[in-house]
């Protein structure tokens, strides 16, 4: 590693009102390497990348690109200098086509400087082919599945042909199949000599891809190590600052009587080729059991949980029985009354109330328990909320703090706390650890384990198989809305599950 760094970050500091996101960060990226950045939620990874890619223009410290000091005023400058980024959050215009999104801001011009849509569509389709993604460049981004949307983002970054590519948690919304595709793309890029900065909370990815790993904690660079001289334990230790002992979940956990019985659940999908979002699904959930749902992106896991929660906008067919009683769930409130709770997939969009403070976010579902006749007893509300946040160990400046000031993991804890306050019998977790760092993950696992021991049933989905394998007693596999497999802890392996997940409707039907 003697060649001079292509990127050099010299004690960069970034302050946001209230928080110091980065503090004297110094970091060097060598040309052609894949450099992974690790850190807890809120460590400052995305902020650093935003500075590198010109999204954040005002910061202290200096930035050198292959020796020359640069200061990006906008993303345009960064792109001109050959830096492109895939942001952590999806940034697509749903009303525009895939091609339009890929070339947004860099539209190809043709005759008289008019827009040349055809050229863009051709270029887009070739890019998508490179990503092994069979989306027609004219389909509107809004009609795509989350996974494909993520791939559009990647294609967009690739279309720049820039020699520095930043990927901020590109796989957080992808499942194994798509991830492995992404790996192949990355391989090709590296052959092309592209320098890649890669952020992920998934250790296996980091160690599969990275040459060197830099760990950030609380906005400071802790250490930069080359993959060969370290292991995931050490990295996580550096990230969290303490040991995370891998305890064996579910050991001697007793599953009791049947809590929930779902038979022939089907969810029609109006005006779509695949006329069922979910088709003929039957399963049971016992007390003290963690039931996992695996599947590729768009397999229908979210829809399933929504059905169980009465939140699907079309009423499902089939029967849902709770303790032998058939439920009629028309609205989430019905499910709440029956003691069912759902922690939604998309925290920002479906969970948080950004205008409310931490306490109010936690207490929202249990307000009527604080006082009588629809009145709120503030002190009681606050007391309940503080108990919950203590129990879950939410790291916050106080209940009156803005929810947006918390890191992803802690926000997630608040939402889980919101539902635990309703003392549910069944807890539905839709991808609860998306974008949550290892430390917080471990705590969530422990929490789930504890809840089961207290005798509630948990159904969870996840885009990470290892997670399901560690946490779940049983794993059911969905594929294109069909139930294609069921394994208990003993027999479940990644291979079997992936096989079932990719089986698809054809094989089931035939």
């Amino acid at each position: 590693m003697s060649s001079e760094p292509i990127i050099a970050i010299r004690d960069v500091t970034k302050r946001f009102p209230g928080v110091v996101a980065l503090e004297h960060v110094t970091l060097e990226i060598l040309p052609g390497e894949l450099h992974a950045i690790c850190g807890e939620n809120g460590a400052g990874k995305s902020t650093l990348m935003k500075i590198l890619s010109g999204v954040i223009a005002d910061f202290e410290g200096e930035l050198l690109l292959s020796g020359k000091p640069v200061r990006f005023r906008s993303t345009r400058d960064a792109e001109a200098a050959g830096v492109s980024i895939i942001h952590q959050e999806l940034n697509l215009v749903e009303q525009l086509s895939a091609a339009a999104n890929i070339f947004l801001g860099r539209e190809l011009r043709g005759w008289l400087g008019l827009r040349d849509d055809r050229a863009m569509e051709q270029a887009a389709s070739s890019l998508l082919r490179e990503l092994e993604c069979e989306v027609h460049p004219r389909t509107l981004a809004g009609e795509l599945r989350v996974g494909d949307q993520q791939l559009i983002e990647i294609a967009k970054a690739l279309s720049l042909q820039s020699e520095i590519l930043i990927m901020d948690e590109p796989t957080s919304a992808l499942t194994e199949a798509e991830v492995s595709r992404l790996y192949r793309v990355i391989e090709r890029l590296r052959k092309r000599g592209v320098t890649i900065l890669y952020i992920s909370h998934k250790m296996d990815e980091v160690f599969h891809l990275a040459d060197r790993i830099t760990v950030l904690r609380d906005g400071r660079t802790v250490k930069t190590l080359s993959k060969t001289e370290t292991n995931s334990q050490q990295i996580t230790h550096l990230m969290v600052g303490r040991e995370i002992e891998a305890i064996d979940f579910g050991a001697e956990r007793q599953t009791a009587e049947v809590l929930l019985k779902v038979t022939n659940l089907s969810l029609p999908w109006h005006g779509h080729a695949r006329e069922w979002r979910l088709h003929d699904i039957s399963f049971e959930l016992r007390r003290g059991e963690v039931l996992g749902f695996a599947g590729l992106m768009g397999a229908g896991r979210t829809e399933l949980l929504e059905c169980l929660f009465g939140a699907s906008d079309v009423p499902p067919q089939g029967s849902i029985e709770l303790r032998g009683r058939t439920l009629k769930l028309r609205h989430p409130i019905d499910a709440c009354r029956e003691g069912i709770a759902l922690v939604t997939e998309d925290r920002k969009r479906l969970g948080l109330f950004t205008a409310m403070n931490v306490g109010q976010n936690i207490s929202l579902c249990t307000l009527d328990r604080t006082g009588a006749m629809g009145l709120i007893n503030s002190s009681r509300e606050w007391q309940m909320a503080s108990e919950t946040s203590k129990k879950l160990g939410v790291k916050t400046a106080g209940l009156a703090a803005a929810i947006t000031s918390l890191s992803g993991g802690n926000q997630q804890k608040c939402i889980i706390g919101r539902w635990l306050q309703t003392e549910p019998q069944i807890l539905l977790l839709d991808d609860p650890t998306r974008g949550v760092d290892v430390g917080a993950k471990a705590e969530l696992y422990r929490l789930i384990d504890k809840l089961c021991r207290d005798g509630i049933g948990v159904i969870m989905t996840s885009s990470e198989l290892p997670e399901l394998l560690t946490v779940c007693d049983r794993i059911l596999v969905l594929s294109e809305g069909y139930l294609t497999g069921s394994f208990n802890r003993a027999e479940a392996t990644e291979h079997k599950i992936l096989e079932a997940a990719t089986m698809g409707r054809a094989k089931v039907a035939g």
Binding site: F353, A355, M356, G374, A400
Partner: protein, 397 residues
């Protein structure tokens, strides 16, 4: 935000404080500049006049605020006032005997009819928004246009039934309404009570919290087991209800139900007041206290204009209200603004904005105080703003 537990610190930066300061400033300024010093010489009169207008606007500004907090918008208030007013006066007219005023029962019926019409309109809005899925802006825009003309048709119909001739307004001379007109305290008490109730609901009840939740994030609210559609129902009914209560005082005050132009455009004053009072059109943010102060501020300013500019003040009223709204909203966002070191005149846009602003200010000064003052103001502002721009440029490089 959501009304409860304002700590001392958060109050320091709150819209409320900014408004209180602004109000005090305006009042003292008026008291001093006004050559008659009416505020000193005839305090009771001034207070009464302001109180009257305050309550009249305030009553339905509360409704506007609730809808805005719930993440919606209600453009129809003005027309609802015209409509409910016509209903009220119409019922009264139909129940008035040949000789003498209508019996007490008739008055009660009339008021009841007005209130009911309000609730009906609220329900209609909710239906259009939740069942037909119209955007609130469109639904209430449609009623804004529709209800007024409906009220006119109704007015002609009723007067034809009662008096045999189609009239475009209905006079109300019933002693009860005259009493409302002559006793400002009634409308003020009604306003105070409504405000108190609204404050209670918003900051002390589950329903109130649900309103904030709905405004803050509708999907999340639904997934938290909130019957969002019913909450909307409450919000829009409340808004229309307050408007129809205001309608009663409107017709009492003008002693006529005049669907053609009664309260025309007043919905915008209400919305402006709510926004000045810190309600965010994104929803989920806003307080009753802020709204009340917003209304008070608006009325105080209008009163000040009338007191200071003695002649043709109404020509300038709109202009000044417009500027004030901008300034107020800007003021309440000042400290965020300063915190983020944003440029005021960024790029070419900024360069074009400078002469525009200077020209505007200059013209305003010119038409108000004559050509030379105008020229002076314009040039001065041009220099100042250019100075700022230069400063920003140098600061940047």
């Amino acid at each position: 935000m959501s009304g409860n537990r304002d700590t001392a610190k958060s109050f320091l930066y709150s819209t409320e404080l900014a408004l209180i300061v602004a109000i005090v400033v305006v009042v003292t300024a008026t008291a001093l500049i006004d050559s008659n010093h009416t505020y000193f010489n005839k305090p009771e009169v001034s207070v009464r006049d302001i109180a009257r207008n305050l309550s009249l606007l305030g009553i339905f500004a509360l409704g506007a605020a609730v809808v805005i907090i719930a993440g919606g918008i209600d453009l129809s208030a003005g027309s609802v006032i015209a409509f409910s007013g016509t209903v009220c006066a119409g019922v009264l007219l139909l129940l008035t005997p040949e000789t003498g005023p209508a019996p007490a029962g008739a008055v009660v019926l009339a008021l009841g009819a007005a209130v009911l019409s309000g609730l009906g309109i609220g329900t209609l809005h909710t239906w259009l928004i939740t069942a037909v899925r119209l955007p609130p802006f469109i639904a209430t825009l449609a009623t804004l246009v529709g209800l007024r003309s409906f009220a006119r048709a109704l007015c002609e119909f009723i007067t034809f039934q009662a008096q045999g001739s189609r009239n475009s307004q209905i006079y109300v001379n019933h002693p009860a309404l005259a009493y409302l007109r002559q006793n400002v305290w009634v409308s003020f008490v009604v306003f105070a009570v409504l405000a108190l109730v609204t404050w209670l609901i918003l900051s002390r009840t589950v329903l109130g919290r649900h309103i904030y939740a709905l405004g803050g994030n509708e999907q999340a609210a639904r997934l938290s087991g909130i019957r969002t559609e019913n909450v909307k129902w409450v919000a829009y009914c409340f808004s229309a209800l307050t408007a129809s209560i205001a309608a009663i005082f409107y017709i009492a005050n003008e002693s006529v139900a005049n669907p053609v132009n009664q309260a025309r455009g007043h919905e915008l004053n209400a919305i402006a007041a709510a926004v000045v009072g810190g309600c965010s059109l994104q929803g989920g943010v806003g307080t009753v206290s802020g709204t009340i102060l917003g209304v008070l501020f608006l009325r105080i300013v209008i009163d000040a204009v009338a007191k200071i500019i003695k002649t043709g003040s109404d020509v300038y009223e709109g202009l000044i209200v417009g500027c004030v709204v901008v300034l107020a909203v800007t003021l309440t966002q000042m400290q965020q603004f300063l915190a983020s070191g944003r440029q005021v005149f960024a790029g070419v846009r900024g360069i074009c904005a400078i002469p525009t602003l200077a020209l505007t200010a200059g013209l305003i000064a010119m038409v108000t105080f004559g050509p030379w003052v105008g020229l002076g103001v314009g040039v001065l502002l041009l220099l100042i703003l250019s100075g700022i721009k230069v400063g920003e440029l140098s600061r940047n490089s």
